[in-house]
Symmetry: D2
Subunit: 357 residues, 4 copies
């Protein structure tokens, strides 16, 4: 018999349930008897021993359900190594609960921060298999993460809606897209929504080039301009600042987010009225799209197979259209960013999209 722990950590996203269902269905279909223990609210559950045993029923009907049935939480403390406010050593607490439940393996679904901790637990001797969850698609070692395509859909829907109102009123409209410090989500939603300008963290923008593009469009008879701005977008000036200078700027930052800074700059320099829309947390919610359901199910199945085969210490990823296992130490702590000269960026430029560079 095998005893498996499972937890979801970090910002939630679509298809977390689909992925867990994939793992569990595979294990329950295997020859060996399996018990599944779900830790609640991410690593917190593992640290404080909050868990419940899960049956097949818990996974019935959740393929299409957003969120996570286990609950999640962002990294619960400043760093996972530091003791908590009661002096508890968190890593030791996790190891203790793992041992207490006599677990054979821990299945961990999460993004970048989650993978750092997962790798730490591996180094501490726990058997770990992970799944790449994030709407940001910024995990190293995998071409794709689940949640990403669903989030592209939500963000594109927002741009589609804005398109009709922008066209009717002849306005400049900014849609701010999630993605932390990487631009995959904005790039894809921007291209899908027909944005005229796309500003990404990886390609610092020159506001004058943005304005030039708007003016060119007007000269060519376009009544409106749609700008997709990544929440992590940054101007050339800011990108040139030292870390200290930039931190200082952001502590006195007068805008709710960078989109409003872009809007203010355009308004100031051109007199045009600019509107900002921020779909925000809706981008990580709702039912997973069919792509993500299939993808997360496949990842989950292969994770289940790894466990049945006793292969631990891997993230289950996606490379060249095949599901692959990637050693955790290769994944942890690295970001997969948009290369400024990636094919997709070049193609976007061929289509006339301006990146402000």
């Amino acid at each position: 018999m095998k005893r498996i722990g499972m937890l979801t950590s970090g910002g939630d996203c679509q298809a977390l349930n689909a992925a867990m269902r994939g793992v569990v269905k595979t294990l329950f279909n295997g020859k060996e008897k399996v018990e599944i223990y779900g830790f609640l609210d991410g690593y917190k559950g593992l640290i404080y021993g909050n868990y419940r045993q899960l049956s097949g029923n818990d996974f019935s009907g959740i393929l299409t359900k957003g969120g996570t049935i286990l609950g999640s939480s962002r990294t619960p403390f400043k760093t996972i190594q530091d003791p908590d406010e009661n002096g508890l050593n968190k890593v030791e607490a996790m190891k203790k609960n793992y041992a207490k439940l006599k677990l054979d393996c821990l299945v961990i679904l999460g993004g970048n921060g989650t993978h750092k901790t997962a790798n730490l637990l591996r180094q501490e001797g726990l058997n770990v298999v992970t799944l790449p969850k994030t709407i940001d698609n910024d995990l190293w070692g995998t071409d794709m993460t689940f949640g990403f395509q669903s989030a592209v859909n939500v963000a594109t829907d927002a741009i589609d809606c804005i398109h009709t109102t922008a066209a009717s009123h002849g306005r400049v409209f900014i849609v701010e897209v999630m993605g932390h410090k990487v631009g995959w989500l904005t790039l894809n939603a921007g291209m899908a929504g027909g944005a005229d300008i796309i500003l990404l963290p990886e390609i610092p923008y020159d506001i004058n080039k943005v304005i030039k593009k708007i003016e060119e469009r007007e000269k060519n008879g376009s009544r409106f301009t749609i700008i997709a701005v990544a929440e992590g977008a940054i101007s050339k000036e800011d990108a040139a600042l030292s870390k200290k200078e930039y931190k200082k700027k952001m502590t006195n930052y007068q805008f709710p987010s960078v989109s409003y800074e872009v809007a203010a700059a355009i308004q100031e320099k051109t007199g045009r009225e600019v509107r900002v829309t921020v779909p925000g947390h809706t981008q990580r919610g709702g039912s997973p799209c069919p792509y993500d359901r299939v993808f997360a199910s496949r990842l989950g199945a292969e994770a289940g197979k790894l466990i049945m085969d006793g292969e631990y210490g891997f993230m289950v990823g996606y490379k060249n259209r095949e599901i692959v296992k990637v050693p955790l130490e290769e994944v942890a702590g690295k970001l997969k960013m948009v290369e400024p000269d990636a094919s997709i960026v070049k193609e976007a430029k061929l289509l006339g999209i301006c990146f402000g560079d």
Copy 2:
């Protein structure tokens, strides 16, 4: 032969094109020959003589298209009676362009502000037929406006997305819904999205009752609370202020909108983390829902019939499931608000929804 002018004014919404298509298809199917002149960007087009003649082709395939093919603008000047910045008397300019094109009638699609001006033009002797366009559903004289149901759908989608993420993280989430000073959109989207608390302009809220509801939910084991807040929601304290005092408060207002004020109050009084999402302009965009397509088409058909029959001075509205004509003087300047003791509010309360009153 009849010569018809047409314009769309105010914030755009879904099904404007469907409604215009309805008018024009009906007129083109009639016995009399008809010419249609579309004024661009609302009353501006009528004032400055910006228009183009429209053919059947212009209306082909637009039933499902959001926005307005004529463009729109919010009231272009402080009041329509005042001269513009060049001293032009705008009302006289509109009358002149109407006469110059030898129009038999002007079809005007718009909301409250638009109807005031439409009624003014009627008083000045122009033949006017109007159609009730607004996502706010706040027009007097009609049970329903087109755009409303589509906007309910967009706002509900946002709440649905937030629901899964709120449940996963165990958070209090606020979704801010449009609607100006009336609560129809928030009330319907809130009920459709399963919001636990709904704050409307018509029912000033007591923040302590809001907090009490959150705490009750937690006591009963609910991990999260969803609050739908109308952009025009107001606290009991603010509702009790004199106009002058309130204006003073709002000029130094430290929040982007009332939702953030509610969020801050909950955070301050309870220590809970509260997130705010503002779907914003997406609520007026995108393809109209089937309900709005049928409804706007029906209104348009009846408007076309009024014109063929030479009946002017009416808004085409909806009463007790029939399309009716409502004298413009009865519509202009009045708001249809949510009565605090309306059946739908009582029913929402039976379901356990808290309005903070």
Copy 3:
């Protein structure tokens, strides 16, 4: 304390769960203690005593969920009065189980057939409150039934999809829409989808008029024609047949459904290729639309209130935008059909839609 039985009967539809949630939330929020017993698979559960007690948890998260958590079945036997195959008197069995559980009231959600049986149970002395469930919108005594608007959305989606392919290939396309012997669903989906021809059970069609319309469209440069055909549509010839003659025709019917008969007639008489699409059962599935969620919740709340007030023998319906109670004896056995001269039909004709009459 009150003890309430509940069942859903007939073809399932969207918002059944929303309606039940509305009833139960209202009752649980009331002052009196309440126990809810859910009978499984419609009247079958009541006849054979299959039920389970339901808690608040059963109704959590089901507002947006299609189908029915209680299961449903079409009338399980030829008539409810006849004994079953083991000689059991079904009506007596239902009365016995009602008495055994000491029920104060039975909440029944269903359509026409269901209401006949509900009225019978009322006549037999049971306390009954019903809710109008059907995608057909054909229940007497209410302006609207829940499920209808969601089904309109699904059927319209199908027509929208067909529209782009029909336009690309220049074809005549038929979409067959549900609705049994009434045309509400087809009429609304047809208008929403921009169908050129709509064939309803209530307006028998002349195939030559259908063909004339197709030819007129081609003459005017249209490459394609969309026909929305109700599954109950009927030709003038067939409508003129005696019941016996019609029954004879249908027993040797060579077509899968009437749409294929229409298609064959057009192909035969004009040589044009005609394609048929049948969305079928998808029309009663999927998540309820926001309109239905609000509507079903309101109906459920008022049903809960009736029960708290001890008012039995009513269907909770909708009249002139208010939720009302309608005596069951007025509802049972009557159909609400599309009047051939209803305003909405006239409006559709003004728009140029052909009904083949």
Copy 4:
């Protein structure tokens, strides 16, 4: 200056317009002047010289629009080499019209049949660049075709809708999915929709294994079973027939399609009621999903670049997440099928999905 012809051929699908927009935007953004000639209704337009010159306006707003603005047709004649009914040599006619318009290149969007003809034209000396369009995803030389992911979405929506009604009624439900003789669409929609059984052309099924799976599910307490059947699915018996025997069987085939044969077999052998739903042509219609919009735009951009660089004779495809050019002679006449031992099939089996093999 360059003169480019363009045509779309075969069954239409989503993102054809997006792909053409990509090509044209790229060419118009290039340094060289370009004229675009659109041939109407596929190869027919090229054969009979039906075309119109296209401007940038024709491509504005079509990114999100289903279908094709150029119209399409299935192979207009039995084989493209045979003369038409008036004795016209079609290949010569195409060459003549190509020469007459002094075209530098022909951009052809289509699937398998289309690519055979495109390759023929290349062999005849025309400059050709092609784009892989098909909802079937069966084109050799590319990991993905545009239209596929959108069709997966439509088919999955249908299965989702059927899921709620199947669960409510406890029925066996078959959803028939498009894809001709390949199973990609059914496999993906089936996995995304949570189908329990998936029948593909590439994996002939044993009806007894299908029935065994249904019975197992019931034994484990499942009330319903969803079967996704490819329109090209085939039983082991039929797969074992000689071509002649199979042809004979199909000429007297008593079922509308294979799904009905599967349904009849299950009903006959088990007495269970089985329902069939056929989403049909809806699967190729409607607005392209964001994935397809981005993908088709990227392909279009690279096609435009090839043309600017004077590189002809290629299909623009997708390999290992990069857009690549594939020699037309490698593509034409080959099918990309689902390997019965492909990873995705193995993963589906791990999840417990039955393929009837």
